[in-house]
Symmetry: C2
Subunit: 343 residues, 2 copies
DNA sequence: CTGAAAGCGCTTACAG
DNA sequence: CTGAAAGCGCTTACAG
């Protein structure tokens, strides 16, 4: 047992046949007498033979590995994405290799270059800091797909629609001072599509005020400080860029005896576990990550296999608002009395 | 650009030198005239040469890849573990490959066998359904470490200590009817160490009642139903096996106008993001996942490199209770009045 | 139906 | 300091 790895040569010698016979008996790529096939399988079991990974890769030029570049695993959206990607890749008989590439462009590009050596059959770039063009160039001949650069990509998530659903709902409820907590991580180099949509919709109603917006890191704490700021600015509803920030808003409200949704409506984004876990459960926006992941994987595999057959029919994914208990009409404005308490 | 991959032969031919020279100029494993080294580097850049992964692996017998077997990515503890493992592996110049192996033993073992072909320099088995022995056998000659089988492993997490801290604190606060929500996923084949510790400590006080315990799936919803059951059974404090379940308890309490911590104390486990996100913030138990991950990686690398030098000095990790706002004295027993309301 | 040989793209003794 | 050759462990034309 402590001896060297057993190779195809050992098996061939053991049986007194050639290694081509062993190889073919395993692959089934040519007719081998049933008798020999059986002998080979038996010998393999006895010797504990297993084809060597690297040697097979050298011939097939394929590792069955897909590299997924992520910056970190801190936000729930990334985690869900990874989970779904892994599921779909597995279905296609690929394994997912997670590459933590950090947040700066340089190290991200270096990472891509480093792993574009045949280690992966394909690379999925989810890094917001690296453009699709630069990533593809760094990958050289390795198929690479950049995640969700909707402007030109084949998968388009209509964030604006998700935001519109929320805003129209809040307008309907009578809210005029709707605060917005924006973020940078959905930006992909351009402007954050959620913020853009929010601003445009507020403007159309003549309600946009820069004081009602703020930029957040996306973490709980930033939601807490944003809540304090926005409520002081007069917001009766707060639309946060993600559920974690929204949870911060809710927590701050509780701590300051501001009732949700009676005194303040709160809406999140991403519809993560957190949205269901907080109290009151959070109205949020479902992005259908499974679908995004499914199509992303499909596109990457097409690129790997060089399928030009399927013409690039862009997939549009439309988010959907999920109503829970954190939103209510803006009517009862005994709210201003409360506000005094916290100052 | 559309042509075949450029190989070391192309570089050698291009420069009119032998491929050994090119190879050595890159590896630095033998003296090469500075002039030639420079020429080689220049040519490499011009031709866009990059050593082929599989060919290098064939020689080095090392891929730089570590396979981490996880059942899924649903609970926060796993996610944090993965994140920390990735960090430590990266520091040691390894990449992490995530293998989702599901929940049954058979498919897990098959997965291990399949990937024990030289694809990974080492394997980390976090699957609770697969014993350390079976996993190691399935891995054959590939180094494999089974995560946190404390009984014999070199890394021992003293769950009992974490539980003791919580229980002693609750006893101090005057709680006698302490409900416990147990789970199966920390079990690793044996009994859940958290439940065992809870039961023993309650017994020592003469307070143990089976009616005050229940088994949960670990999801939020199971926390909600457990809360209802345990409060009906008279619990004045609930100690949940993980934060998600505890969040369910809190949510149920809010929905039923039971005040936390005044009417009901709640304690979670794992000290995840969720513990900070809910209101009131949740008293929980920190497991120091970073430390666990650090030592796990260290052990695996030792096994890979065959370091027998470092004698197996077992590392003990002691969890620590983190106090937040979900716990308070059991005194005010106007609680029973409330209970009526929900029946 | 089977075997001997070439080749995948590197690294590394072996010779000079 | 450098080159020609063997070898890593397979697969796959090529011959029979």
């Amino acid at each position: 047992m402590r001896d060297k790895k057993v190779t195809i040569n050992d098996v061939a010698r053991y049986l007194g046949v050639s290694k081509s016979t062993v190889s073919h008996a395993l692959s089934g790529k040519r007719q081998i007498s049933a008798e020999v096939v059986e002998k080979v399988h038996k010998a393999i079991r006895e010797l504990g033979y297993q084809p060597n990974f690297a040697a097979q890769v050298m011939n097939s030029h394929s590792t069955g590995l897909i590299g997924v570049l992520v910056c970190d695993m801190r936000n729930a959206h990334t985690i869900r994405l990874i989970d779904e990607l892994a599921k779909h890749l597995k279905e296609a008989n690929y394994s997912m290799t997670l590459c933590m590439a950090g947040h700066d462009e340089q190290s991200g590009l270096e990472m891509i270059r480093k792993v574009s050596n045949g280690m992966f059959d394909g690379i999925l770039n989810t890094l917001p800091q690296i453009s699709a063009e630069k990533a593809a160039e760094a990958a050289g001949k390795t198929p690479l797909l950049t995640y969700l650069r909707h402007k030109k990509g084949a998968i388009y998530v209509d964030y604006a629609s998700g935001v519109r659903q929320v805003m129209e709902y809040l307008f309907q409820l009578g809210h005029k001072k709707i605060g917005h907590i924006a973020t940078r991580f959905r930006q992909f180099g351009e402007e954050d599509p959620c913020f853009t949509a929010y601003r445009d919709l507020m403007r159309k109603q003549g309600l946009f005020q820069p004081e009602l917006t703020c930029l957040s890191s996306g973490e709980l704490e930033s939601g807490i400080s944003a809540a304090e700021y926005l409520v002081r600015a007069g917001a009766t509803a707060i639309f946060a860029c993600n559920d974690e920030t929204a949870a911060g808003v809710i927590q701050w409200a509780h701590a300051n005896r501001i009732r949700i949704p009676d005194d303040l409506s709160v809406v999140g984004f991403d519809n993560t576990q957190l949205a269901k876990a907080v109290y009151p459960p959070l109205t949020s926006v479902e992005l259908f990550v499974e679908k995004i992941a499914e199509h992303t994987v499909k596109r990457l595999l097409e690129q790997i296999h060089g399928d030009k057959t399927t013409e690039i029919s862009p997939v549009i994914i439309t988010p959907r608002m999920v109503l829970r208990d954190s939103t209510a009409p803006a009517s009862k404005q005994h709210f201003n009395k409360k506000e005094k308490r916290i100052s």
